[in-house]
């Protein structure tokens, strides 16, 4: 962590970008795998799940940050869980009010946002130590990163598994869908492929950096 011992209140671009790229909750920290694998069978589900999680993350981070001086250390986890559960319930009702079809597609995974370790992790390691503004920006970054990752999986799985994107067919009649991609194993395949890609990019960057150093030294 780059955060110094005494939490600084300076907000810079990295506060936001940390979650989007460097510490992406899915591709780097591998947090919240349960919804990542389960509801990314279509882009629409992935987007809805990402937005729902982002809302819960933002709202709970804000409240935890505001109440951080008020919550005693011994009961902090219980308090965080109650706060998170409240916002998950709100999201649950709201999605039902917006669209029952979407609600049925997401199934139990809306309620399961409560136990998404990314959200509790943010509350514990960030929101409880930083001011409201900084926590909100960091949570927004994490939410965007999570939604981005879900969309990465959702679009690939829907394209290959159903030949469509957000429900609109893109490949025409001749395309034979790889049904396995929208089944649970497809989630693992696609996640594995993305992780491989990210690891490769990271490794290439590291090797390049090293080469540059040696050249510089000689």
């Amino acid at each position: 962590m780059t955060t110094p011992k005494r939490p600084s209140d300076t907000i810079n671009l990295d506060t936001f970008l940390e979650g989007v790229w460097r510490d992406n909750p899915v591709f780097v920290m591998l947090l919240g795998m349960c919804p990542v694998l389960a509801v990314t069978n279509t882009s629409m589900n992935a987007l809805a799940m990402g937005l729902a999680t982002t809302f819960v993350l933002l709202a709970s981070s804000a409240l935890v940050s505001l109440l951080r001086g008020f919550i005693p250390k011994q009961v902090r986890i219980a308090c965080y869980i109650v706060i998170i559960a409240t916002f998950v319930t709100i999201v649950d009702y709201t999605i039902q009010a917006i669209s029952l079809d979407l609600y049925n597609a997401l199934g139990a995974f809306i309620q399961l946002i409560v136990v998404n370790c990314m959200i509790l992790g943010r509350a514990e390691s960030y929101a409880s130590k930083h001011r409201l503004g900084k926590s909100l920006i960091n949570a927004a970054g994490m939410g965007v990163g999570f939604t981005f990752a879900l969309l990465c999986l959702g679009t690939v799985r829907e394209l290959l598994g159903a030949g469509s994107l957000f429900g609109i067919p893109v490949f025409g009649e001749q395309f034979e869908p790889w049904v396995v991609m929208i089944l649970p194993p497809g989630g693992f395949f696609v996640l594995g492929a993305w992780l491989l890609l990210f690891a490769w990019i990271k490794q290439r960057k590291a090797t390049k950096g090293k080469q540059g150093e040696t050249v510089h030294a000689t």
Binding site: N41, L67, F70, I71, P72, Q74, V75, A78, C79, V82, I83, A85, T86, T89, I90, Y93, T94, Q96, A97, S99, L100, N104, G161, A162, P177, V179, I182, L183
Partner: protein
Amino acid sequence: MSENAPTDVEPPAAARGSSLAMIRALGVIAMLSGVLVVLVYQITQPMIAENKRLAIERAVFRVVPGAVDRRDFVVTETGLEPGQQATGIQIYAGYDGDGALKGIAAEAAARGYQDVIRILYGYNPGCECITGISILQSTETPGLGDKIGTDPAFLANFDALDARLNDTRSALRNAIVTVKHGTKTQRWQIDAISGATISSKAIGKMLDDSTRTLLPRLAPHISQLKVTEP
């Protein structure tokens, strides 16, 4: 456990103050949470109820061709109760623009390949046949089992699936059965989808079970549905 032990033994005076703080924090947060949840519940409840009503309506109009209006009834042991409160089998009667009965819709469920499949089916008392099915809940395999809701050839089984009662009006004349793909010969048989036999059989079984209990009980009261004015 071992981590908790030291904190249990430590008896400083500060602990008393902090337990008050703990109770206060938990109490305030629980109260705040309660207020928020109740508030959102109050706001969204009418919208959710409306969404559910529309979803049922859409499904009923799909399985009862020609219906533009619906009314709810419950088939009890002794007769027919309007509304949804009575205990018994819930049915939805569909009427056309002139208020004439076009058919009824009822739910049926049975275990499929993955999980329970729930459908709404339409029944026309005139031809004593099933006029359509609509999947309410299904987690069948995409591309195979989920064809029960999309395959045109399979759905054609339910354009007029025979569900006649016997002469004493106490049971179905012919049990509804699912037969192997391409071997359908009778009007009460369902032609299975090749590659989705278990899901197809589940549809046959649930229709048979449901009509077997519902139709004999409904038969004496069917005229009641026809004369009910809006």
